[in-house]
Symmetry: C2
Subunit: 207 residues, 2 copies
Amino acid sequence: MSNESNSYKLTYFPIKALAEPIRFLLKYGEIEFEDFRLDVAQWPNVKDKMPFGQVPVLEMDGKMVHQSVAISRYLAKLTNLTGNNDLENLEIDAIVDTITDFRSKIAVFNTEKDDTRKEVLKDNLTKETIPYYLTRFDSITAANDGYLAIGRLTWADLYFVSLLDYCNGVLKKDIIAEYSNLVKLREKVLAIPSIKQWLLERPDSEY
Amino acid sequence: MSNESNSYKLTYFPIKALAEPIRFLLKYGEIEFEDFRLDVAQWPNVKDKMPFGQVPVLEMDGKMVHQSVAISRYLAKLTNLTGNNDLENLEIDAIVDTITDFRSKIAVFNTEKDDTRKEVLKDNLTKETIPYYLTRFDSITAANDGYLAIGRLTWADLYFVSLLDYCNGVLKKDIIAEYSNLVKLREKVLAIPSIKQWLLERPDSEY
């Protein structure tokens, strides 16, 4: 491991969502951290102290770092879940950013306040976006020996599986149920002992 | 340089937008590439051949790679515009993803079709989002010896400056005009000889 800090504090809302990839990676690496969960009532007081007014924020030895994907990539380096060379890391980064695109489309639906527009978004998601992305993620997993990139476990797999609870929670169904390679991938990731333990101990939340 | 390919072909629309960071980095590294610009009429035939139906796509020795930020990070490694260690790269990645968030908010406005909603989005951008982000980018640049991260030129600077044409084109004004540290940063990046040359030779486009 390189550049490791002595203390880690993760600040986020009391949900999985964008913080769960960070939690999965910290747990995978058996790195101790404070899992600080803000009450929504606390948020207005905390927001201004956060870089760009957003969470999750990871404090490492007191230094605040933001952006969940950047943090995840860093933790992946600490826990040996990155590629072996620049081209492998490019392959991982490309699928991670595609998973983020997919997750963002679900977030747009989740935060839409206009009922009519929300219905249209749900329809697009269900009939187009979700099958479009998941068919491709499933094929990619089949072509990569059961993983999302470079034929072995990487942080892309933890990133995807840890975000599924958010996607499924928003859509109120298991969106990958019909995609057998993704189901198997989830089983593998959730069977990693430290992740399995985390699922038993983590607080309940809608997503 | 590591993992360098022999041939590079970039496919995108005849605009700057998401491809311009890739073009800047290829030019910065003096890496020859085919700058293939699709007519909109060609797009329906090309879309299905592209990974996840999107461009920009960079072909490296014939292998297609997508996701502009992932590609930019890879090219930054080839051209020595990354950090010296994992923590420096985390700092760069975090600001890059924040620039992407900022650019995405401008893209949401740009693609909105409902006139009333578009007006609201423009108002939010002008009064809140743009000053919020640019004030912070400006302060960060002041605190980093005139750069967006780690006190020296990195791909975060090329990424930001190359996307400004898109942001300015959509908003029909120079959004950084009042932010002196960002103006100076842009001057520095655009004065790099290979970038300066690129600005003289690149095709005109609205953004």
